[in-house]
Symmetry: C2
Subunit: 151 residues, 2 copies
């Protein structure tokens, strides 16, 4: 991880921690571990993956606590849940707002491409349908460079 990334991760961790403190939620070692991992994970980890990492530094933690912490952070808009119908949900604590994703259907890698023009699309949809749009989700599915080369 580059110095710049490590700096961003720390900032993001502090941001989430401040939010929890300001709302009088209790700061437990388990929650701190989840925050630290979410702030440092560029790879959109699953609940299970977060669990394994938390366990490494705090072995008594249970999976239920991971889920409860995620629910809490979702409610505070501090983590973005990428729900998938096969039940393998993934989480993004770095950019906890809607943004497009590119997902490798072979290895499961998830990346964030930078795309313009989504806000305009949202406005177009609103005009054409009369909906008040609150949220969106845009996923592209395909095969990543590494998996292509591995063929």
């Amino acid at each position: 991880m580059a110095l710049d990334d490590s700096r961003k991760s720390e900032d993001r961790f502090q941001e989430m921690l401040d939010k929890l403190k300001s709302l009088d939620f209790r700061i437990t070692p388990q929650r701190l571990a989840v925050l630290r991992i979410l702030a440092a994970s560029e790879d959109h980890p699953s609940a299970e993956q977060i669990f394994e990492k938390v366990r490494a530094e705090f072995p008594t933690t249970s999976l239920g606590t991971i889920y409860k912490t995620i629910v809490l952070l979702k409610g505070l808009n501090e983590v973005l849940e990428l729900g998938f119908p096969d039940g393998r949900n993934r989480y993004d604590g770095i950019k906890p707002f809607p943004h497009p994703h590119v997902i490798c259907t072979k290895c499961g890698k998830i990346m964030d491409p930078e795309l313009m023009g989504l806000d305009e699309l949202e406005e177009e949809v609103s005009k054409k349908t009369g909906f008040i749009i609150q949220n969106h989700r845009l996923d592209f599915f395909g095969m990543c460079k590494e998996c292509q080369d591995a063929t």
Copy 2:
């Protein structure tokens, strides 16, 4: 339903039926019922909703058979599955290819807005990430006109 819609629905039904026949799948009353309902449903029904409608005309049908038929049609690219992480999946047998959806978070209504420029977006993503894109999913979430007025 307008005459035009009823005509389209019949065409679509025939299209799916022909596909099943050409591939030597057996034509059962249950399958015919599912095809007819999918071809006529603009509202992106759930498996349960398809089940209820099939049951109305063919009471011994089981939910398992509905799911098996859906799996079959998915494999033939004759139905689009809109999977949701809460397990309430919805199906589109009329336009069985990726297209954007607008979803009412209050009443569950799903509409198809006509949007341009998605193919270009797909190409942009491919260039920027090196992925070969095979598929995509674009959902907008919000509140429909009727639910706004009901407030």
